[in-house]
């Protein structure tokens, strides 16, 4: 059968994200509980020391956020490497103070050094990847799969009606059936832009497969396939989606391509999850605190929750 290697660039990205979490957690501790951090690393909690720890905490958080904003970029990792150097220097400085706990400081310094090595490795690899990456005009291929606890017929039927797409595809605003095998798509893009295309079905086999491609003059030229297969042992239906984006043409095309390329994998993963939620449970779950964008606290206007989550009512 089909085996899928775990691409190396994803491993590096995972490491970067791990370091991002680490930055956020350490930063939060330094910012919010500098006394505790001081106690642990074995320095006297003077006001100057605590302020320094708070400042370092803010730096860590900034580094963490920068990593999450662009987990494939090397720059935030290099700034972490620089931060590690500053930390090490500071710790070594403190260990010269008479009232510090040398043993604890030693442990802390070793820990910083260890993380520093990881930062360095990660920064280097991301940089190499960026250097070796093909130019922006590359084709992009994305594939994702999910399993639904429903019969192949049910799942196929829901997907085959493209008018359902705006319900689960975050960026799809509307799909209009034009007759024949054709449909017209409106998709939202950043900065309030909308992109459009006409698509035609090139192959369709009941409860098995649908393949489509865009017609000439599409804002985003692409093709796609979705396959439905029964999962073993009555585990429902596996849905596999593959998308291919053509090299972009023109200025609009490039900015759009940039959008889809930012994390097309993750976007498709999320859209498929919503497809599963909708088909299995009849709705897409909504919480008051979507991601970390607002507190988990009721809102005066429910539309605020829907629009954050990108769910159309």
């Amino acid at each position: 059968m089909n085996s899928r290697a775990y691409p190396r660039d994803r491993q590096v990205e995972a490491l970067a994200r791990g370091l991002g979490w680490f930055s956020l957690a350490l930063g939060a501790a330094e910012l919010l509980a500098p006394e505790r951090v001081a106690a642990v690393i074995g320095v006297r909690p003077q006001r100057r020391t605590l302020n320094l720890l708070r400042a370092y905490g803010a730096r860590e958080i900034a580094a963490g956020l920068a990593i999450f904003a662009a987990p494939r970029a090397a720059a935030p990792l290099w700034s972490r490497v620089a931060g590690d150097a500053v930390d090490t220097a500071t710790l070594l400085g403190w260990s010269a103070d008479a009232d510090s706990d040398r043993q604890r400081l030693g442990v802390a310094t070793a820990a910083v050094a260890g993380v520093g090595v990881l930062d360095l490795v990660c920064a280097r690899q991301l940089q190499d990847q960026a250097a070796g990456a093909p130019p922006v005009s590359r084709r992009v291929h994305v594939e994702r799969v999910t399993t639904l606890n429903r019969s192949v017929e049910d799942v196929y039927r829901y997907w085959a009606d493209f008018r359902n797409f705006p319900r689960f595809m975050r960026h799809v605003e509307s799909v209009e059936l034009l007759g024949g095998n054709r449909s017209h798509w409106r998709v939202s893009a950043p900065a309030g832009m909308t992109v459009q295309w006409d698509a035609e079905i090139v192959e369709q086999r009941d409860s098995e497969l649908i393949a489509w491609r865009t017609l000439p003059n599409a804002d985003v030229e692409h093709s796609g396939t979705v396959r439905f297969t029964p999962a073993p042992g009555a585990r429902g239906t596996e849905v596999r989606v593959a998308l291919d984006f053509a090299p972009p043409a023109g200025r609009l095309g490039r900015s759009i391509a940039w959008l889809f390329r930012k994390d097309p994998d993750q976007q498709l993963h999320e859209d498929l999850r919503r497809f599963k939620q909708l088909v299995e449970s009849g709705e897409i779950p909504l919480s008051e605190g979507f991601m970390l964008w607002r507190p988990g606290q009721p809102v005066a206007n429910p539309e605020d929750v829907r629009s954050l989550a990108g769910v159309r009512s």
């Binding site: 501790a29 919010l32 604890r104 442990v107 999850r273 449970s281 009849g282 779950p285 988990g296």
Partner: protein, 390 residues
Amino acid sequence: MKATCWMGTQQVQVVDVPDPQILNPRDAIVRITATAICGSDLHLYNGFIPGMRRGDVLGHEFMGEVVEVGSAVRTLKSGDRVVVPFPIACGNCSQCEREMYSLCENSNPNAVMAEKLWGYSPAGIFGYSHLLGGFAGGQAEYARVPFADVGPIKVPAHLSDEQVLFLSDIFPTGYMAAEACNIQPGDTIAVWGCGPVGQLAIASAYLLGAERVIGIDRFPYRLRTARERAGAWATINYEEEDLHESLMELTGGRGPDSTIDAVGLEGHAPGLHGAYDRVKTALMLETDRPAALRQAIMECRSGGTVSVAGVYGGFLDSFPMGAIVNRSLTIKSGQTHVHRYTRPLLDRIERGEIDPSFVITHRMTLAEAPHGYDIFSHKEDGCLKVVLAP
């Protein structure tokens, strides 16, 4: 309405927030009549669980009266008196079909965050961090309950709020922890932690046929409740006696047949081990302090089961895997699949086999929630379980 909000580590405040509204067809709104503070809330309070935001409404143990239902809810109507399970479950996915409700594949809108930390996402939970959905919790006057046609269980009028409230969490949790031990005739079960979960694990182990149950803690008032109310055959105060020696003595050198960790990630440990975990957690090299879990593994007899009801959030250190492999131990764990237990355990309460309200020591108004958190967290004023009435 008034709601108890997390405002930072060891800070909760009761503040005014908008009333919840129906967001989805399967939602219901419940006017809360009783809600409790859980040991799990303490992990949020003390800042051990990531993904909290200032202003998050806390609380996952609650019950009340249905005041509004969404268009797709046919099983409930306004006026119904219900207890709400703490995990949110759709009832349709394959995990729900297997009755693994706390693993519902569809109820966490922030699944992508949980996947990063844990590989896959479990179910959403009320008031339990954005990792588990960012849902507003139930220590409030009202709550929105998603998938209300699956979770809430109607309770008969002749049972009081206090008798049925704990069907939302700690009674099923203690019960599931005991059930995981696969108790055989003659078994001795040792339970680490005599908090509310430990107490109900002890009582449940007897319901499930244990011969002897041993409670372990360091607070004398909790050990007394374990003996006098939960029915523990013996208790061990690990600060006053040597835990291992006492367990050997009580089990004839065989060791407990199964052990239950009802402590979780803030385990207390005296001496070197405790210092080790504290340093490591503060340095972020370890996120949890698994003192009790390590002991529950080391003390369990060979071939026995270690049932972990206590909550762990991240990564542990010095985990005795060697003992697990070489002594064929089974580890069972999970957030409780509450929906699976509400009906049978309500029946047990109705038949008078148990009254879980014995754990309640403090009754307060919602406005007093901050004080409730304070004494429950510090184990002051004989506090074992706080129930708030909005």
